[in-house]
Symmetry: C2
Subunit: 209 residues, 2 copies
C-alpha cells in the first residue's frame, strides 16, 4: 500500500510532500505539467524516483496536487492581499497590479502557472484540464463581479458590459504575462498596466465638479 493510499502521514512526510509540490509547480511553468518526469523532479530535489512516487498514487495525482499547491501560492500572493480593500474599483486595480507584480517577480519562473498549464491542457480532456479551467473561470468571475460592484457603487459606467470589460482586462493580463515570459522584457508588463489604466479610466463615471 502506498503512502498516498494510507491516510497515515507524519510531519516529516508532509514536509517532503510540500517540497516536492513546490518544486513541481515551479518546474511545470518551464517544462510543462506533462513535461515533468518523475525522475527529473526527484533528481531536482535530491530524492529517489520511488521515494518521491510513494507520496502519490500516480502521475495524474501528482499533477492535481501540483495544481492545488500552485493555486495556494497564487491566492496567497495575488488575491488575499487585495481582499481587505473596500472600494471595488480600487480592489480591481489592486488585483490587476498584484497579478502583474506576481508575474514580474517570477514567483513561478515561467510566469503565470495557470496561463502556462491551461495552454498545455486546453485540448486534453480529463481531471487536470477540469481543475485548471475551474480556477480560470473563478478568476474571470471574480474580475467581473468587482466590475459589477463598481457599477453598483456608481464609480464605473453602468452601461458598460461587465463581461466585455472583464474580457478586455484579462486580455491585457494574459498578453502581458505571455510576452514578458517569451521576450523576457518588462516593457510588456508596462504596456499591460497602461492598457488597464486607460480602459478603466474610460469606463469611469465622470464625477461632476
Amino acid at each position: 500500500m502506498t503512502l498516498a493510499q494510507s491516510g497515515k502521514q507524519g510531519p516529516k512526510g508532509q514536509r517532503s510532500r510540500e517540497t516536492i509540490l513546490r518544486a513541481a509547480a515551479s518546474l511545470a511553468t518551464v517544462d510543462g505539467l506533462e513535461g515533468i518526469s518523475i525522475g527529473n523532479l526527484a533528481a531536482q530535489i535530491g530524492m529517489s524516483k520511488s521515494g518521491l512516487y510513494a507520496h502519490f498514487g500516480s502521475k495524474e495525482e501528482l499533477q492535481l496536487a501540483t495544481i492545488e499547491t500552485a493555486e495556494e501560492i497564487f491566492n496567497a500572493d495575488v488575491i488575499e492581499p487585495t481582499e481587505t480593500i473596500g472600494d471595488p474599483l480600487e480592489r480591481l486595480q489592486a488585483l490587476c497590479a498584484a497579478f502583474l507584480s506576481h508575474v514580474e517577480r517570477r514567483v513561478f519562473p515561467g510566469g503565470c502557472f495557470f496561463a502556462s498549464v491551461s495552454a498545455e491542457f486546453d485540448t486534453q480532456p480529463g481531471p487536470v484540464r477540469d481543475r485548471v479551467t475551474a480556477t480560470q473561470q473563478q478568476w474571470a468571475a471574480r474580475v467581473e463581479q468587482l466590475i459589477r460592484e463598481a457599477q453598483a457603487a456608481e464609480v464605473l459606467d453602468p452601461d458598460e458590459d461587465p463581461a466585455l470589460l472583464a474580457f478586455e482586462l484579462d486580455s491585457y493580463l494574459l498578453l502581458g504575462n505571455t510576452n514578458f515570459v517569451l521576450y523576457d522584457d518588462t516593457a510588456y508588463l508596462h504596456q499591460a498596466r497602461q492598457a488597464i489604466a486607460r480602459l478603466l479610466e474610460r469606463a469611469r463615471i465622470d464625477k461632476p465638479g
Copy 2:
C-alpha cells in the same frame, strides 16, 4: 545517407513530406510540438516510423519544418487575403477578422498554431523557440505598422501610441483564441470582435460634419 541530407528528392517524396508536415502542424496544436512522437505521427498518416523519419534528419528538423508549414498555412489563410486592401484601417480590421475567423474555422484544431507553440517553447531556448518568436514579432510589427499608416492617413488619432494600440489588439486576439479553444465557445470570439471594434472606434479621428 538520409533523404534529408541528400538534396535529391522526387515528386513522390515531396508529396509525402507535405502530408507529414500538414499532419504534424495539426497535431502540434493539440498535443504540442514536443508532445508529438514520431511513431504517433507515423501511425496517424499510415507510415512506418523509419519511413517518416527518413524525410528529416532529427526531430528538431521535423519541428522546424512543421513550423514553416504552419506559417505558410497561416499566411495563406489570414494574411494574404487582406493584402489587396488599400485603406490601412480597413486592412487592419480585416486582418483581425481574418485571424478570428481562422481560429473559429479550426484551420488548426487547437486554435492558433503560434499561440499554442509559443506558449510551449517560451522558456525553452533553441532554434524552435527562435523561429516561433520571429514569426510572432513579425505579426506584431505588421499590426503596429498598419496603425502607423492609418495615423498617417489621418483616420486614427496620431496621439495614440501605436505600440500600445497594437498590444491591446493582440491581447484581444490572443484571449479570444485561448478561451475559444479552452471552453469551445464562440462567445469569446465575439467578445474579441466587440473589444476590437470599440477600441478602434475610440482611436478613430472624429470626422467633422
